[in-house]
């Protein structure tokens, strides 16, 4: 069964450093998303990406965040200068489009120290 793959599963970084979280969505999917879940809180939408551009982003997705689909298969989330409050589980998701529901990866646990 096709699945969304995220790497790494865990990442520890120092405050102020840049991190790149990587995702390989399901191959025939057209819509890509990043969500995050701070420990003990709800899963929050960060950004959606379609047709090689951002289609929607939340208030959380400020200038320190960026997304890219560099080679037609990977989908990355870059956090330019990490803060302690960026510590969270980050989920990548993809969907074929329409209201079919998104498929989620296993997540990357980011810890900023």
């Amino acid at each position: 069964e096709p699945e969304v793959t995220q790497t790494p599963s865990h990442q520890v970084t120092q405050m102020g450093q840049e991190v790149i979280l990587r995702c390989v969505p399901i191959s025939n999917h057209l819509y890509f998303y990043w969500y995050r879940q701070i420990l003990g809180q709800k899963v929050e939408f960060l950004v959606s990406f379609y047709n090689n551009e951002i289609s929607e982003k939340s208030e959380i997705f400020d200038d320190q965040f960026s997304v890219e689909r560099p080679d037609g298969s990977n989908f990355t989330l870059k956090i330019r200068s990490t803060k302690l409050e960026d510590s969270a589980m980050y989920f990548c998701a993809s969907s074929q489009g329409g209201a079919v529901g998104a498929f989620f990866g296993q997540g990357t646990r980011l810890t900023v120290v």
Binding site: Q41, S48, G101, F104
Partner: protein, 112 residues
């Protein structure tokens, strides 16, 4: 803006008992409704979804949910739970843009 309320943060039940996890939503437009499950140290897995049509939807692992438009609810049920159903369950709603808004989750703990 859409929002989701999961009324119970934790639900403990005994094995083979029935369970209902409650979800209410608010939205000014038509919505699509989903339940996701998260097993420990894993990602989110789609359990079931309501898009249109029959208000009773069946999902994987014997779960079902009923959409009630007048009560803006989408409660998840299972007639007989197993130890392996222990997990966090998330209700989610999306509108035309397919962005998911999640509830805070309900931790279902099935005890022997």
């Amino acid at each position: 803006a859409q929002s989701v309320t999961q009324l119970d943060s934790q639900v403990p039940v005994f094995e083979e008992a029935p369970v209902e996890l409650r979800c209410n939503y608010s939205s000014s437009v038509s919505v699509y409704l989903f339940w996701y499950v998260q097993y420990p140290n894993q990602g989110l897995q789609l359990l079931l979804k309501y898009l249109s049509g029959s208000t009773l939807v069946k999902g994987i692992n014997g779960f079902e949910a009923e959409f009630n438009k007048s009560q803006t609810s989408f409660h998840l049920r299972k007639p007989s739970v197993h130890i392996s159903d222990t997990a966090e369950y998330f209700c989610a709603v999306s509108e035309w843009n397919y962005k998911l808004t999640f509830g805070k989750g309900t931790l279902l703990t099935v005890n022997p």
